[in-house]
Amino acid sequence: MPDTPTDRGIPSGADEETNAAPGQLSRRDFLTAVGVAAAGFLAGCTPEFREKYLQKHFLELSPQEVEARLARLRDDYAKRFGQEVSVSALPAQPGVLYGYALDLSRCIGCRRCVYACVRENNQSRSPQIQWIRVLEMEKEKGIDFETANPYYNPERVPDPEHFYVPVACQQCRTPQCTMVCPVGATWQEPDGIVVVDYDWCIGCRYCMAACPYGARHFNWGEPELPVAEFNPNLHILGNRPRPQGVVEKCTFCVQRARVGRYPACVEICPVGARKFGNLLDPESEITRIIREKRVFVLKAELKTEPKFYYFYGI
């Protein structure tokens, strides 16, 4: 009887008791002890601890739990940065679908938008993370990613031989990044903004591989964010300080857009090349541009259907 595999695989309790040497824990006792200890630990730890380390997905939180999380984040950031911090979880407004347009005939490649974005969205200064990348392309070749140069640095811009294509998250209508995420830590909000739950992201970087625009950025190191440059106007899915090991991306400045403000890159652009608004409003700037100008999207053949349009406004 003891020779059959099933018997060896599942020994009876009696067998185990007899096998256990005197003074040794039987398997059953050990598992019971571990279970009791775990249950006791869970019961004994504070609700704050449980919220922090055993938290739920952001979309599964009840309104009370969202409030609790916001309060915890406010406390954490206030302690870390020594100032009043506002953390919002303002949801999407109904009847709003954000769209963006960029006038390539105006952009001079000055990179003001890049650094305004870094400051507004609390990106890591070291290792450096920038959500906007300005590509310099030759007028002779047109839009050509193979020969585009993001490291241009002449004394003055624009260079007469080149034009400039700033690229950030294209806020696709069919975002590949959200489809490959194995844990559902990134999704498209009802107003079209693709956001990341930094508490839920496991840092696998599948989304970075899936994104055809290089718009997602990974926190390889502990993000360095000087206290003096901290922007305390935060959104939980947007510009709040990120931990190491998570992916982040442009959110159309969700903390500004959802209260009606223009994103930081729009407000800093010295040539007014950047346009932002509601695609569902027939009188907004963005719908006028789509109606009256010839707009195009990057890599349209991929069917990602971006809500970020480029046009020549001349």
Binding site: Q130, Y262, I268
Partner: protein, 265 residues
Amino acid sequence: MSEVRPSHPPNDPGHGDHMETLESEFSIARSNALIPLLVISAVTVLAILAVIVRAKPVAPPEGVAADKAFGPADFPVVFAKEEALVGLDGGGTDAATLIFPVPAPPFSEGIFPCMECHGSIPPNPERRTLEGMHTDIVLHHDEEHRWCLDCHDMNDRNQLRLASGALVPFTESYRLCGQCHGTQYRDWRSGIHGKRTGYWNGAKRYLLCVHCHNPHSPRFASLQPLPPPVRPQFLRPEDAVAVAASGEGSSGSAGKEGGHAGHAH
């Protein structure tokens, strides 16, 4: 059929033999061809390994090294002049006299009102090179056909003058510009041309044409670009430090001064 049959049987065994010889001759496992093949593949693998091992680290392409990370704090001047929103209400709805909320026109220090000086100077309508006053103005705006009094009113220098003879204040200079640049005026009014700040769903602040375009030389002035992103090989701060210490990458200063790539003009 009977004629065809005899021709086939002699062929069949021959055909079979041929296949056997083919197999024995060209079977790699049984032939001596295996040795040179192994030698060739081994040499290829060794060559690839040698290339990989001997390869130098990827050198930054020509142009800037981009080996130092800059942040917004390095450019306080650029970010200091973010203006607060000014009074955004007001403005008519009548399309003909639509007044847009704009900040004050960017006059030179102490130049306005013009009539403080011009009130006591008799107007001289003759086209001439200005001497004595306004010598800093270089007209580069269809200068062959245009002169001061095409836009400035001769008798009331505090105002501008449309082609129709109507006077408009400097705060509505877009109406003057729009006489020639109609498509830009149309786009500006609907928010396509020009910079907007404020609220995408509410009050916006417009800028006058002259806030971006010098009316006497309207091409948008070039700017110094902020430094490029740091290249991936210098992403770790200690790498950038090492490069700076070895003196190879002088781009720490190049980034601030604007670099040396492509400024032949």
